[in-house]
């Protein structure tokens, strides 16, 4: 399909830092005219700005990821510190059931960090694809080429 998703604008409430920088990124892109890319736009200029956009997307992804890690740490801080203390104490002061809870909480922390990394990687990939497709569409409009080749979500069967 050729219809492209709009730039995502909704982020989890807790991801304030990431949302802030994401908004700046949106404003920056709009300033460049890349997100609109009307027919007759300077395709050459847009292509040249692609590396800068890629860097910006990577940067905002990193910021959001850092925010998510900080949030996860804050949430599980007590358990993570207790787990470290137990390890130093070789588990002598902790019952098996309390130990299991600490392990569960530590695993939840690690999963959240991993989930955040995966989400940001997928989100960045999605945004980069959108920019690439906008450039291709603008170029196709400029030289009168068909857009059929950019139907990314065509049914395979």
């Amino acid at each position: 399909m050729t219809d492209l998703p709009k730039e995502p604008t909704i982020a989890p409430q807790s991801d304030l830092l990431g949302s802030l920088f994401s908004s700046w990124a949106d404003a920056w892109r709009i300033g460049l005219g890349v997100s609109e890319m009307p027919a007759g736009v300077d395709v050459f200029g847009a292509v040249l700005s692609a590396p800068a956009q890629a860097c910006w997307i990577g940067f905002t992804a990193w910021l959001r990821y850092s925010g998510a890690v900080a949030e996860a740490f804050a949430r599980y801080e007590a358990s993570l510190i207790q787990a470290e203390l137990d390890r130093a104490d070789e588990g002598r002061g902790t019952s098996p059931s309390a130990g299991r809870v600490l392990v569960d909480e530590t695993r939840a922390f690690l999963r959240r960090v991993g989930d955040a990394a995966t989400l940001e990687a997928r989100r960045a990939q999605h945004e980069l694809e959108q920019i690439g497709e906008l450039i291709a569409q603008a170029a196709a409009v400029g030289d009168g080429t068909s857009l059929d080749h950019v139907r990314r979500h065509e049914i395979k069967a």
Binding site: K6, P8, I10, R100, D104, H126, I155, K156, A157
Partner: protein, 314 residues
């Protein structure tokens, strides 16, 4: 184990999302297929397929399609929605045998009505015809193969890990492979681009968790099943939270709990309902975020999340 009887999305959500015609096609094709089946199998298949299913999985496939493409539903998507009911029903038949369930959707289960031989043979028959219906849809074949393998692994894992003092992360892993895999595959069958795979997984996790909570609430509308999970020491979400208390953990792990043990466990599970609901709210929010980030039109996906989330509160 059974997560099927909370399939009560109702006609209102189907109508609200504009899928009446597509759903009518699914029902008609299933009925035609049953009528064209071997006479030896027909009564068995009629019993299993022509009951009160509300087709939540086809609805998920259609919603994922609609969230990516505003155009009419294409034939491979429709066909996938029919075949997912085949595979879903196979999982129900097997689940009912494993769980020793006597009733489903308010009437005897397939093996109770026709015997285990018929139930098992019908399962094989349905799987074979499911693959035949896919014809040259290689992508769907691959997804259905993934589904069957993951369901098999999840069922064995869930059974092996029963009566173990595990945690919420273990529950998440089991639920993600059980109901999660079913909805992951539905999402992939609908969007055909893997963009919504994670959304599907989260929707399945939410569905599984809401069923767990609904069972503890004793919600008859959800089909019950809580007693069997309790008796078998199945790791549900309320169980994973409750057995953090060592005294409940000991009771939960007992091989042959008596009635007072079961009552104490049930009370402890009920006490964890607020925490379980809070956890499910977070899963629902994750699913909404996925929908907003990776679809063109998140509205149908968010409607699915809201519908599913309500299931634990019935």
């Amino acid at each position: 184990m059974n997560k099927a009887d909370i399939n009560r999305p109702g006609e209102n959500i189907i109508a609200a999302l504009g899928f009446q015609e597509a759903m009518a096609t699914v029902r008609r094709r299933l009925a035609e297929w049953v009528q064209s089946s071997d006479p030896e199998m027909r009564a068995t298949l009629e019993w299993q397929f022509l009951s009160r299913s509300k087709y939540f999985r086809p609805l998920t496939i259609f919603s994922c399609w609609r969230s990516i493409d505003p155009g009419p539903i294409r034939e491979p998507i429709l066909n996938s929605a029919v075949v997912v009911e085949f595979f879903h029903n196979v999982s129900l038949v097997i689940d009912d045998i494993v769980d020793r369930s006597d009733e489903r959707r308010g009437r005897p289960t397939l093996h109770k009505q026709f015997g285990e031989l018929h139930a098992l043979m019908a399962s094989g028959y349905i799987v074979a015809d499911g693959y035949l219906r896919l014809r040259d849809d290689v992508q769907a074949m691959s997804l259905f193969s993934e589904l069957l393998k993951r369901l098999a692994v999840a069922e064995c894992m869930q059974w092996r890990l029963r009566r173990h003092p595990l945690g919420v992360e273990d529950w998440r892993r089991i639920a993600g492979e059980d109901t999660g895999s079913m909805f992951e595959v539905c999402a992939c069958l609908g969007d055909r681009s893997e963009r919504l795979r994670r959304f599907g997984g989260l929707l399945g996790l939410l569905y599984h968790g809401c069923d767990d909570v609904g069972d503890v609430r004793g919600a008859a509308a959800l089909g019950g099943g809580g007693e069997a999970d309790l008796r078998d020491g199945i790791l549900t979400l309320p169980a994973a939270l409750a057995i953090r208390d060592p005294s409940i953990g000991v009771l939960f792990c007992k091989a042959d709990p008596d009635s007072s043990d079961l009552r104490a466990i049930a009370d402890a599970f009920a006490a964890q309902l607020p925490n379980a609901e809070k956890y499910l709210d977070e899963v629902a929010e994750e699913a909404r975020t996925e929908a907003r980030l990776f679809s063109i039109n998140p509205a149908p996906l968010i409607a699915l999340v809201e519908q599913t989330r309500r299931l634990s509160r019935r």
